[in-house]
Symmetry: C2
Subunit: 488 residues, 2 copies
């Protein structure tokens, strides 16, 4: 296989460089990409935030971070090579000093390192600053460099449809759509990318990937931890905005989309938008039956949380997709915190056999086929199927065919952020979310937010559960049940 | 699950009781069925052959055999219980003494053990005696007992279509079709039975089990041993009669058949006959391209073999099935002795994807999906599929999803003969071959035998090969290749 060439040397400018994301994810990812020679050794990184650091202080801080968080331990050589082009420009984005200082620093780097005016602008700040920074980058003339410019925006992208539209509008005053890379780090996960490969590199699944053969789909994104030290942020956000609007909708889009015409950013994103458009918007009266919210016991005691909070830490939705492929096939999706396990799974539940050859007594345990795609942990794919129990009777039971990613490929697969940063430097937007995708996903979520604003409270759930009782009723009402996630 | 009731007590009369099959398979199977309480403790066994044994001599001989060959070691209790109803009647089937002696013995047993005139007549003799014995049983009045009668006939059933028809006609002078149980012990193997369960207990395979999605099917029945001490028998038989006409055709029928209306002997056998009827008969000119015979190096030196023998120890066929499901989908089948491994496998090779999304460079290793059903050893099912290689490139490779029978169900599954004897006592003919099935299978094989009689010699092949070079050409000519059998 031919490897892609290294991306052009560039400067990665990180706003919010004193934050967690920078130390836990971005710096380790940039170090590792250079360590593996996947990016040029001339790639420079400039951190910026209000905190005052000298270049040396910032480097020391980041060295500790990389040592602590990187999957590849830095060696003296790798760290020296990486840190020689690592610097820091402090400042307030609303002030008058930051922007000229930044401009000067970047021009210095271009001159010294041959980064040719190429920039990755990485917004790792609080969401409120995404718009203003993007606007200022343009206004301050930092885009007039003769090189390429790419803007990476972290989630959450807006807090509802209207704010997402506003943000898209603000950002577009400085950047064109093909320069904007909205991150959903789930899309950088190997198994999430593999959803597309699995669907479209295998001829045997596509013929049964539709309403004729699929009974329903379940998508679970479960965390076992609570809000930890993010109480204040979470209190204003909730599970639907934090995970539902992005990760759940992205997984739904990848499972539900039509085959794209090519493996090309816009070809794939066109199809994702199409299936999101086809997701039926909830009328207010549907919300009563198709939406469940929950809150874990003890959430109201968390730091930064209102003692009478009605913020949801769990949400489950029963979504309908109104198109030829999926009409009548419910997609049950759920996400929550402090659940019985940390697991992300997609399960395609197929219909049963149309005609049963075996005596009823022989098939008590015969379940319809389920194709299960585990995104994390234990990335893998398994298929349940009916087989004969050895013995003189014709007794049928359900067993698993298993594929385990790690046992074939080993552990230590690249982090999502490595993949996404490299794609961005290459100008490949396949794994980033386009403006219309973001807006369609908010369009699905908005009626639920509106319904919740009218009142009601989330159902309570205890530790080691999979959410409130109502989440089970969401499925039992349809004669179905949640599949117990695989927690081995 | 409700277990089937024990079959009625009966007498199993074994002709050819001094032979290998009786000591290696039948007596161990009967002992084990009684050991596991699957058949009545009143079940009696009467051996018969020309060799003179007293009852006690026969019991002693059989005790040694069961100790040596049974998967369940006999205990004092189990052997005493089993052997109290084990006896022997010597005699020549063409003479005047055997039949009255047998009649008397059986009536004694009925009186003593309550076997009510129920009989399993088991023909484990040389094939030449099948017809005469069946005829004599009737003529000697042994069927006038008021109980049920079932005749079990070992393979080979005939040596071509004409002789099979003759044998069916002879046997039917004493027995009706529903009393005749033609054994192909392959059908008693768990994994062979599981072919039907797999196909018809899972809704996801049947939609792609046809010419729209299947490129071709491969069936391999390979032995690693030579003819050993069966040279004289084999010299007159050859691979096509020994394995091709029965095991290969049975596997083809189970893979190719339409869904039966029920799990019922005649419903299943009706569909098997239908697909065998649809197998295109070779015109003599087709044989040149669609038939390969081989002979292993050293075969002519085996004891009992003609030094100029042209008997085939290997055969490969390219079969076409002329029906709506399989038109245009070749079934490549092969069997042989002294091959590189002992393995029985069915591989369904699906077509490739209709449209490739990935760059050519990304998919060098992408093979179409293959569903592989291993009958022996390591019974199991696996599915190859394309998946993403972890890393920043979209590289696709082929991996396996695996199900292993033993790791789910443990080892020590019942022997084929246990299952078949019990089914016969229950009057369940599902796993036995009906007269019309036998004749259709011979109808497929006959033109090949005729073609070979016209001349030519088998291609030679060495040890550790998978047959003669021509067997590979049979597939490469079609742009395909044999899948390397899984020998782990």
């Amino acid at each position: 296989m031919e490897l892609r060439p290294q991306p052009d040397p560039c400067v990665v400018v990180i706003f919010g460089a004193s934050g967690d994301l920078t130390s836990r994810k971005l710096l380790p990812a940039l170090h590792n990409l250079q360590h593996d020679d996947l990016i040029s050794s001339s790639t420079a990184v400039v951190g910026s935030a209000r905190t005052h650091y000298t270049d040396d202080e910032f480097r020391a801080e980041m060295k500790t971070a990389v040592e602590e968080h990187s999957r590849i331990a830095p060696t003296k050589t790798s760290w020296d090579r990486f840190s020689k082009d690592l610097s820091y420009v402090p400042g307030d984005i609303t002030g008058n000093e930051l922007w000229p200082a930044l401009k000067e620093k970047l021009e210095e780097i271009d001159a010294a390192s041959g980064t040719s005016g190429n920039r990755v602008w990485y917004l790792a700040t609080a969401p409120a600053f995404f718009g203003p920074i993007a606007e200022q980058i343009g206004k301050a003339g930092l885009l007039d460099t003769g090189g390429w410019h790419r803007l990476v925006i972290e989630k959450p992208f807006g807090t509802d449809l209207a704010s997402a539209r506003d943000l898209n509008a603000t950002v577009s005053t400085s950047f064109s759509e093909d320069q904007i890379f909205r991150i959903d780090h789930y899309l950088g996960k190997e198994t999430v990318q593999n959803l597309l490969v699995f669907r479209f590199a295998n001829a045997i699944f596509e013929p049964i990937w539709n309403r004729r053969y699929v009974d329903h789909v379940q998508i679970t994104v479960a965390e076992d931890i609570g809000v930890e030290d993010r109480g204040a942020f979470y209190e204003d956000t909730g599970a639907l905005r934090d995970v539902g609007q992005n990760h759940l909708m992205q997984l739904l889009a990848l499972i539900g989309m039509e085959p794209p015409v090519s493996w090309d950013a816009d070809a794939i994103r066109n199809e994702k938008v199409q299936v999101l458009k086809a997701v039926r918007r909830f009328a207010q009266e549907d919300c009563e039956h198709c939406v469940v919210r929950g809150q874990y016991d003890g959430y109201r005691d968390e730091k930064g949380v209102d003692p009478r909070s009605s913020t949801e830490t769990f949400v489950a939705l029963n979504l309908a997709i109104d198109n030829w492929r999926w009409a009548g096939v419910p997609f049950y999706v759920r996400t929550g915190k402090k659940l019985a396990g940390k697991v992300t799974e997609v399960a395609i539940h197929f219909q049963g056999v149309p005609h049963l050859l075996f005596a009823k007594t022989a098939v008590e345990q015969l379940e319809p086929n389920v194709l299960m795609i585990r995104v994390q942990p234990n990335e893998g794919i398994s298929l349940t199927f009916g087989t004969k129990v050895p013995g003189p009777e014709v007794e049928v039971t359900t067993v698993n065919m298993e594929f385990d990613y790690e046992s074939d490929f080993g552990s230590g697969t690249p982090e999502a952020y490595e993949r996404l940063l490299m794609d961005c430097m290459n100008g490949d937007a396949t794994l980033f979310t386009r403006a219309d995708e973001i807006e369609e996903a908010w369009g699905i979520v908005d009626p639920v937010l509106e319904y919740w604003r009218k009142g009601g409270v989330p159902g309570r759930y205890g530790p080691d559960s999979w959410g409130p009782a109502a989440a089970d009723e969401l499925m039992t009402r349809d004669g179905r049940g949640w599949r117990a996630p695989n927690l081995r």
